[in-house]
C-alpha cells in the first residue's frame, strides 16, 4: 500500500477480488460443521462487486500492469503480476457474475446433498483459479492458474465420486486437459527460448517483441536470438493445442459430454460459461503469436468441431449431453472466428454464449430437479434426464419453459436476442474473409450456415420433446404432481433471461457494430463488405425459422421428417462419431496393456529380484545360524562335554575300592618299568 490510496491501487483490488474465493475455499474446508453456503456466496458477491468497480475503471481506459519479483532461478528473475485490460476486466465481470448466479441457484439445487460443504469449497477454489487466470500478466502464471482450473474442474466433475461414471469422467477430463497443458508448456518453452521473457505486455503489447520479430531467410529473428522459422509455427500449434484441450475442440472434445456427470449447476458454470471459455481466452490473450499457417488450421478445426458437434447433438437423448455438444459446437464457432481474425466478434460471442448457455443448463437443471423430486416422492424409477421419457411439462413448469425458449432463441440467433448479434457477426465476418480466399475455403461459410441450421433443429427438438406433447413416462393424471422449481432457482432463470436479450449489449438490435462490447475490442483484420451485413442475417434467420417449423412438425405433430433410426447416419451421430471407441482402442487399451506389462515386470523381475535378495539373505542367515549353532556353540559345548568326560574318567579312579587303587599303582609302576626299558 505504501501511501497509495487503496481505491486507486487497482491491481490490489483485482488481487483481492481473486483471493476472496480462495479464502472461502480454505475456511470452508478447514471448518468442521456443514454449511458454508453463506460464506461462499458473500465471498463471490464481494468479488463481483470489486470486478464491477474495476470494470468501470479500466474499460476503454489505460490498462493497469503491476509486477512483483517472484523467484530467482540461476541468474534469471521471474515476475508475478497483474495485467488489467479490456479483456481481463470483461472476463472478471463475466466469471464472477455468473458465479454469483450459480451460487444462488446451487443453494436450492444442492440443498439436501450431504457433501455440500465440499461443494462450496470447490466452487470457491474454481472461482479463485479462474479469476487468477484472467488477471495474470505472464505466461507462467497463466499456466499455473490454467492447471488449477483444470484441477478444480476435476474435483467438481467427480463431486459424486462414489458413482463410477463420475470419477471416470473426472479422470478423462483431467487427462485430456493434461495433454493440452503439454502443448501449452511447450509453447511457453519455445517463447522463452526465443525471447527470454514470459511477460505478456513485453511480448504481445503494441510494441511487443513478437511484432518486432521478423522472419528472414527461414530464420525467426528477435533481438539476438535466432531460431529456425518452423519454431514459430510450432509455438503457435503448441499454444493452440492447449486451447483445444481446454475448450473441447476436435479431437480433444470427448471429455466434455462425459463431464455432465457432475451437478448441473457445476456444468452450467464451468462447462458452459467459464472454464471452456478459458481456451478461447488464451488464444485471445496471446493472439499475436499465431502466424497464418496456424490460424488457417485453427479455422478448419473450429469449423469442423462446430459441424461435428451439431450433427451429434441431433440424435442424443440425454438432456445434458445435447447441451454439452451444443457447447462444443459454439466453442468451435468462437475458435473459428479467432482463426479468421474476427477477434472482437469471438469475444462478443463468448460473452453472450456464457449467459444463454448458463440459462439453458440451469433451466434443464430445474427440469431434472423437479423430475428427480417426483421420482423420489412417488417411487417411480426412471432416467429423469432422458428426453424421450419427458413431455408436456410446458404447463407445469412455465418458468423453465420460457427460460429455455429464450435461451434457445439466443442460441439459434433469432433477432432481438443477444445471440443474434454475436453469432451473425461471426458468420458475416466469415463470408467477408472467404471473399479474399479461394479454393477449399469457399465452402467454409456455408458449412457454418448449415451448422447454424442444425443448431436450430436440435435445440428446438429438445424443447419440443421436453415441454410439448403428451407425457411419455409419467401418467397424465400424475402430471399434476410436478411443480415448477422453488423460488431461488426461478429468480436466477429470470435474471439470466434478461441477459439473453439484446438490450444488455447494444441499443440497436440489428447492428453488432453498435455494441459497446464489440467496440471495446475493435480490431479490424478483415476487409468489410457491406453486402454481407444484411444478406447473411436474412438467409440465416429465414432458414432457422424454417428449420424450427420442421422440427415442430417432426416432434410435436409427427408429420415432418420420418424417423431415421436404424440408418447408418443415425448411428454415426448417436454414437458420437465413435470417437470414444476409437480412443479407447487406440490409446486406452494400449496404455492398459503397457501398464499390465510393467506391473508384471515389476512383480516378477523387480519384486523377484528383491525377493531373491531377501531369500538369499535368509539363506545366508540360516547358514550363519547353522554355523553359529553347530560349530561355534558346538565348540563351546564340546569343550564342556570333553571336560566332563575327562573329569568323569579321572573320577572313576577314585572308586573307593581297594583293589582298584592297587591296580592303578601297579600299572603306573609297570609303565615306569616299561618306559625306562624302552628309552
Amino acid at each position: 500500500m505504501e501511501g497509495l490510496n487503496f481505491i486507486e491501487n487497482r491491481a490490489l483490488i483485482a488481487l483481492l477480488a481473486a483471493i476472496l474465493p480462495l479464502f472461502s475455499f480454505i475456511i470452508i474446508l478447514a471448518s468442521k460443521r456443514g454449511g458454508g453456503a453463506n460464506l461462499a456466496l458473500s465471498g463471490i458477491s464481494l468479488s463481483f462487486l470489486l470486478s464491477i468497480y474495476l470494470f468501470s475503471q479500466i474499460w476503454n481506459a489505460a490498462p493497469e500492469h503491476k509486477q512483483l519479483s517472484w523467484f530467482l532461478m540461476g541468474k534469471v528473475q521471474f515476475y508475478a503480476g497483474i495485467l488489467l485490460n479490456n479483456l481481463s476486466v470483461l472476463m472478471m465481470v463475466l466469471v464472477s457474475g455468473i458465479s454469483v448466479l450459480v451460487h444462488i441457484y446451487s443453494r436450492e439445487y444442492m440443498k439436501n446433498d450431504p457433501n455440500i460443504q465440499r461443494y462450496w469449497a470447490y466452487l470457491g477454489l474454481f472461482c479463485f483459479s479462474m479469476l487468477g487466470l484472467v488477471i495474470s500478466d505472464n505466461l507462467l502464471l497463466i499456466y499455473l492458474f490454467w492447471e488449477l482450473v483444470g484441477f478444480s474442474s476435476y474435483l467438481l466433475i467427480g463431486f459424486w465420486y462414489s458413482k463410477q461414471a463420475a470419477s471416470q469422467a473426472a479422470k478423462k477430463a483431467f487427462i485430456i486437459n493434461r495433454i493440452g497443458d503439454l502443448g501449452f508448456l511447450t509453447g511457453i518453452m519455445i517463447i522463452y527460448t526465443q525471447f527470454q521473457t514470459l511477460d505478456l505486455v513485453t511480448l504481445f503489447g503494441d510494441n511487443g517483441l513478437i511484432s518486432k520479430a521478423s522472419i528472414e531467410n527461414d530464420l525467426w529473428i528477435s533481438g539476438s536470438q535466432n531460431l529456425p522459422e518452423i519454431w514459430l509455427s510450432i509455438a503457435g500449434f503448441a499454444f493452440f493445442l492447449g486451447a483445444m484441450a481446454k475448450s473441447a475442440q476436435f479431437p480433444f472434445h470427448t471429455w466434455l459430454p462425459d463431464a455432465m456427470e457432475g451437478p448441473t449447476s457445476v456444468s452450467s458454470l464451468i462447462h458452459a460459461a467459464t472454464m471452456v471459455a478459458a481456451g478461447v481466452f488464451l488464444i485471445a490473450r496471446i493472439y499475436p503469436v499465431f502466424n497464418p499457417i496456424v490460424l488457417d488450421v485453427m479455422v478448419w478445426i473450429g469449423a469442423f468441431t462446430a459441424f461435428m458437434a451439431a450433427t451429434i447433438a441431433l440424435t442424443q437423448n440425454d438432456i445434458k449431453r445435447i447441451l454439452a455438444y451444443s457447447t462444443i459446437s459454439q466453442l468451435g464457432f468462437m475458435v473459428m472466428a479467432l482463426g479468421i481474425g474476427a477477434y472482437s466478434e469471438s469475444i462478443f460471442h463468448l460473452t453472450t454464449h456464457a449467459f444463454f448457455k448458463c440459462l439453458l443448463f440451469l433451466a434443464a437443471g430445474s427440469v431434472i430437479h423437479q423430475l428427480h423430486h417426483y421420482c423420489e416422492k412417488n417411487n417411480h424409477e426412471f432416467n429423469y434426464q432422458d428426453i424421450r421419457l419427458m413431455g408436456g411439462l410446458r404447463k407445469r413448469m412455465p418458468f423453465a419453459f420460457w427460460g429455455m425458449c429464450l435461451a434457445s432463441a439466443a442460441l439459434v440467433g433469432i433477432p432481438l436476442t443477444s445471440g443474434f448479434l454475436s453469432k451473425d457477426s461471426i458468420l458475416i465476418r466469415t463470408f467477408e474473409w472467404t471473399a479474399t480466399r479461394d479454393g477449399i475455403f469457399v465452402i467454409l461459410p456455408w458449412l457454418m450456415v448449415l451448422t447454424s441450421w442444425l443448431t436450430a433443429f436440435y435445440i428446438f427438438r429438445l424443447i419440443f420433446k421436453v415441454f410439448f406433447g403428451e407425457p411419455r413416462e409419467i401418467k397424465a393424471n400424475k402430471l399434476g404432481l410436478i411443480n415448477d422449481s422453488p423460488g431461488q432457482m426461478t429468480y436466477i432463470l429470470l435474471v439470466l433471461s434478461f441477459f439473453c436479450s439484446f438490450i444488455v449489449f447494444a441499443f440497436n438490435p440489428a447492428s453488432f457494430e453498435s455494441s459497446w462490447l464489440w467496440k471495446g475490442f475493435q480490431v479490424s483484420f478483415i476487409k468489410e463488405i457491406n453486402y454481407f451485413h444484411w444478406m447473411v442475417p436474412l438467409i440465416l434467420n429465414s432458414g432457422s425459422f424454417l428449420v424450427i417449423f420442421l422440427s415442430y412438425r417432426t416432434y410435436v405433430t409427427g408429420k415432418g421428417i420420418k424417423s431415421m433410426e436404424g440408418t447408418w447416419i443415425y448411428h454415426l451421430s448417436n454414437r458420437e462419431w465413435f470417437f470414444n471407441e476409437i480412443y479407447n482402442f487406440m490409446f486406452t487399451r494400449t496404455v492398459e496393456k503397457l501398464s499390465l506389462l510393467s506391473y508384471r515386470f515389476d512383480r516378477t523381475v523387480i519384486d523377484g529380484l528383491v525377493n531373491s535378495i531377501a531369500a538369499f539373505t535368509k539363506i545366508i542367515s540360516s547358514v550363519a545360524d547353522w554355523f553359529d549353532r553347530r560349530i561355534i556353540d558346538g565348540l563351546v559345548n564340546a569343550t564342556g562335554t570333553v571336560s566332563g568326560y575327562i573329569g568323569r574318567f579321572f573320577r572313576n579312579f577314585q572308586s573307593g575300592r581297594l583293589q582298584h587303587y592297587l591296580t592303578t599303582m601297579l600299572l603306573v609302576v609297570l609303565s615306569i618299568f616299561i618306559l625306562s626299558y624302552l628309552i
Binding site: R651, Q654, G656, R657, L658, Q659, T663, L666
Partner: protein, 101 residues
C-alpha cells in the same frame, strides 16, 4: 644241585599268582592269602640265596624274620577284617567303597 635260577623262577611265578589274587579276589581273606603268597615267594627267594651265605647267614635269618612278620601281619589283618565285617556286614573289598568320590 638245583640251580639257583630254578628257585628264583618258582618264586617269581608264586609272587605273580599272589599279586593276581590280591588284585582280583572278592573276599578279603583271599586277598590276605594272596599277600601271604607274595611274602612266601619272598621268603623262598631269601632261602634260595641264603644257600650261598655261610658267613653271615643273612638269607636264612631274613627268612625267619619275614615269616614272623608275616604272621603278625596276618593276625592284625584278620582283626581288621573282623571289624570291617562288623561295620559293613560284608568282607567283599568292592563293597567298602564309602571313600569314593
Amino acid at each position: 644241585m638245583i640251580p639257583l635260577s630254578h628257585f628264583l623262577l618258582i618264586s617269581a611265578v608264586l609272587f605273580c599268582i599272589g599279586l593276581y589274587a590280591v588284585l582280583t579276589r572278592r573276599n578279603a581273606i583271599q586277598v590276605l592269602i594272596g599277600i601271604e603268597f607274595m611274602i612266601n615267594a619272598a621268603v623262598l627267594n631269601f632261602v634260595a640265596f641264603g644257600r650261598y651265605d655261610k658267613i653271615a647267614g643273612g638269607g636264612q635269618m631274613f627268612a625267619l624274620f619275614a615269616i614272623v612278620l608275616a604272621a603278625a601281619g596276618v593276625a592284625v589283618a584278620l582283626a581288621i577284617i573282623l571289624n570291617v565285617y562288623k561295620y559293613f556286614k560284608s568282607i567283599d573289598p568292592t563293597k567298602t567303597d564309602t571313600l569314593k568320590d
